[in-house]
């Protein structure tokens, strides 16, 4: 079936603007993760959703970052008042079993 999809693939915004990034997980996957990938910094965990449980927000770097997951499927990551240091690739992953995570292609965010 279809893999994890993310939109947009690229987003250029001005400093101070809000942005929304979307993730469509693999159908039936109960877990959804957001990561941030900066050049040379690997993958930084941001937030984790599992079913109807409260999300694990322990990786969110500031209160400008938030995410929601509607109906246990699609997720939106919102960054308010974007800063230049927010420029990165934002990756979404989903999983059915606890271990194997399937990643989307990412959204490349550039804050000017």
């Amino acid at each position: 079936g279809a893999g994890v999809s993310q939109s947009p693939s690229n987003k250029v915004t001005e400093k101070g603007k809000d942005v929304e990034l979307r993730c469509d997980p693999i159908s039936g996957h109960t877990a959804l993760y957001w990561y941030r990938q900066s050049l040379g910094q690997g993958l930084e965990f941001l937030i984790y959703f599992q079913g109807n449980s409260a999300p694990d927000k322990s990786g969110l770097p500031s209160d400008r970052f938030s995410a929601e997951r509607t109906g246990g499927s699609v997720s939106t990551l919102t960054i308010q008042r974007t800063q230049q240091e927010d420029s990165a690739v934002y990756l979404c992953a989903s999983s059915l079993l606890a271990d194997t995570q399937y990643f989307g292609p990412g959204t490349r965010l550039t804050v000017l």
Binding site: G40, Q41, L43, F45, D56, D99, F103, P105, G106
Partner: protein, 112 residues
């Protein structure tokens, strides 16, 4: 304690040679160690994974070696091919947790 340290940052190997990437960890609660492969413009994809109850796992040309006492694990790519040129990430997950902790990645270039 949650870190996974990966080396080298970059690696150039001749076609047909052996590529070796190393990772070290401190958290003894980690019990799942996957390796992900990422091509430019794509999300990471699970390559191979190991649990601490075995010291080695082989899948085709890819082998994970695991040393529990040293808290180290490594990826060996035998007969490296230009198509293996990618960024490789090691990761670890603790028992009872669902989030992965990633190393910073190794950029592998296999020269023809």
């Amino acid at each position: 304690q949650q870190q996974v340290k990966q080396s080298p940052q970059s690696l150039i190997v001749q076609k047909g040679g052996i590529s070796i990437i190393n990772c070290a960890y401190e958290n003894t609660a980690f019990d799942y160690f996957p390796w992900y492969q990422q091509f430019p413009g794509k999300g990471p994809a699970l390559l191979i994974a190991i649990r601490p109850d075995v010291s080695e796992k082989k899948e085709g040309r890819f082998t994970i070696s695991f040393n529990k006492s040293a808290k180290q694990f490594s990826l060996h790519i035998m007969d490296s091919q230009p198509g293996d040129s990618a960024t490789y990430f090691c990761a670890a997950k603790a028992s009872g947790y669902s989030t992965l902790t990633f190393g910073k990645g190794t950029m592998l270039l296999v020269s023809p």
